[in-house]
Amino acid sequence: MKEKKTTGATNRIGVAETGIHPLWQSVWIVILALLSALFLFPVIVVVYNSFKGRLYISDAPFRLPDVTTFAGLENYWSGIEKTGIVSAFGWSSFITVCSVAVILLGTSMTAWYLVRVKNVWTEALYYLFVFSMIVPFQMVMFTMSKVANVLYLDNPLGIIVIYLGFGSGLSVFMFAGFIKSIPLAMEEAAMIDGAGPIQTFFRVIFPILKPTAVTVAILNAMWIWNDYLLPYLVIGSNYRTLPIAIQYLKGGYGSIDMGAMMAMLVLAIIPIVIFYLSCQKYIIRGVAAGAVKG
């Protein structure tokens, strides 16, 4: 699409202002490359510092490791031991995958019902879900962790219920927006053929929802994977998730073991980068689509 715009313009007016004159082209590429380097720089610094001895990091973080400062994988071993990041990775994966699956199933069904059954109650419920989107977590953090505690939801299984409840606003809103645009005819045809609502939903509606489901899944996965305060308050440190494990390195007023910190940051970033590079297309599209909610 952008190709069309620039070539179309060049044909008529010439190359001057379109930004694709070969000279400008290279100037912009150089500028953008420098900017990209600036964007990647912090991560690169963290990566090579993770191989330096922990005492050589804070005073000269930009110096590359050399014979005296190189520490091999020492930081990784001590960090893994201190934080329990391996099990944290497991808990984070478990909580994220299960919560996203439950949210997808639960909220798509709810949204369909709320759109198709029109009355005062469903209307009110819909607006209640939308309302929950604007409530900041601090508003409910204390009471929510108390409720979770009383109801024995303060464990990796229970927190899935909490995530379904707290994350349902945005997801119901997005599914409902899409369902409103689906013509009734298809569902009616299925129902006339004798399918009940459950069959109709899973055979006819659910497959159509796929693009929205991908967006909802990505937005929720990014939120839950990186969430710190909610799991910290609800489950505490019995089952540390990744952000809790990393924050744990800071404990109290003591100084941080910068070596272990660097190594753990690298381990926390690797899965995100892999995930990003393997489904980049969906992530960027999903994030752009999800932005509409504001």
């Binding site: 082209q25 369909w112 601090q138 508003m139 929510m144 909490i162 952000p243 910190m261």
Partner: protein, 280 residues
């Protein structure tokens, strides 16, 4: 047909509704009630009227956090959106490697707040060490550190939204303006900007609410140092709740005030977006 579906309420809605009730609605109502109470756990709550709100508004930490958050939000919103818009303009001109650049600029957005905070703690302390100081030496360093971090995280995200907006501007409009002799700046001012107004609204409010609600990055980068002078609202509420015994009620009152401010911002956005939709 909706009649048949209606009977299936327990299957389709009830599970989600129950979770919603437990994780959001009940805690929300309890939160409002508790903001008028003195308590340490929920069961020993005793009604004290608006005393918590009076204490919140006369609490220096709260007012300082509020002021810090407002300044931070204004600076971040302006810088993020300017940078993101300029990048989006550049990356919609058919320059080679556009996709690669887009990938790189967006990447920081996926990294969580805690991890981001520690990455930048290393970088900023490394730079400041050359001048013999550190991030916690002066609240101004923490302030600009948070601004830089927020820019690094959000520019790519906003850029993606602006790119989508710019690509939706009909090519004919740009060409017509060009044939009428409009310069590049004039076309930007009178064609591109008005046409991407919806994206601008979305980005302004996304950056506004995200900056205002910032917590993880604040906790990891400065944790309020020096002496609470770089504490933002969300962190101040957290500290009031879990750092001071006997202040839980004040913490909850602060949280309600926080919620009301965020709600006003969101509501303004809703009204603005609606009005624009009606106009177009």
């Amino acid at each position: 047909m909706p009649g048949t579906i209606k009977k299936y309420f327990p299957v389709f809605v009830l599970p989600t509704l129950l979770a919603f009730f437990l994780a959001f609605f009940l805690p929300f109502l309890m939160g409002i009630w508790l903001s008028f109470c003195n308590f340490t756990t929920v069961v020993d709550a005793e009604w004290v009227g608006i005393r918590n709100y009076v204490r919140a508004f006369s609490n220096e930490d709260f007012l300082r956090a509020l002021w810090f958050t407002i300044r931070f939000t204004v600076v971040s919103v302006v810088s993020i959106n300017l940078a993101a818009f300029l990048l989006a303009l550049l990356l919609t001109r058919g320059i080679k490697g556009t996709n690669l650049f887009r990938t790189v600029f967006f990447m920081p957005n996926l990294i969580g707040g805690i991890v981001l905070g520690y990455i930048w703690m290393l970088i900023l302390n490394g730079i400041l060490a050359k001048f013999g100081v550190s991030l916690t030496y002066d609240p101004r360093y923490g302030f600009w550190g948070l601004v830089i971090l927020m820019n690094w995280q959000m520019i790519g995200y906003m850029m993606i939204i602006y790119i989508a907006g710019i690509q939706n501007v009909p090519t004919e409009l740009q060409e017509a303006a060009k044939m009428d002799g409009a310069t590049g700046m004039q076309r930007l001012r009178y064609v591109t900007v008005p046409m991407v107004m919806p994206s601008i609204t979305i980005c302004l409010f996304l950056t506004l609410t995200n900056s205002f609600k910032l917590f993880d990055q604040n906790l990891a980068l400065t944790n309020g140092a020096p002496s609470g002078q770089t504490t933002m609202l969300a962190l101040d509420i957290y500290n009031t709740f879990y750092g001071r015994i006997g202040w839980e009620g004040v913490g909850q009152a602060k949280a309600v005030i926080f919620f009301i401010i965020v709600a006003i911002i969101s509501f303004t956005q809703l009204v603005l977006t609606r009005r624009r939709e009606v106009e177009s």
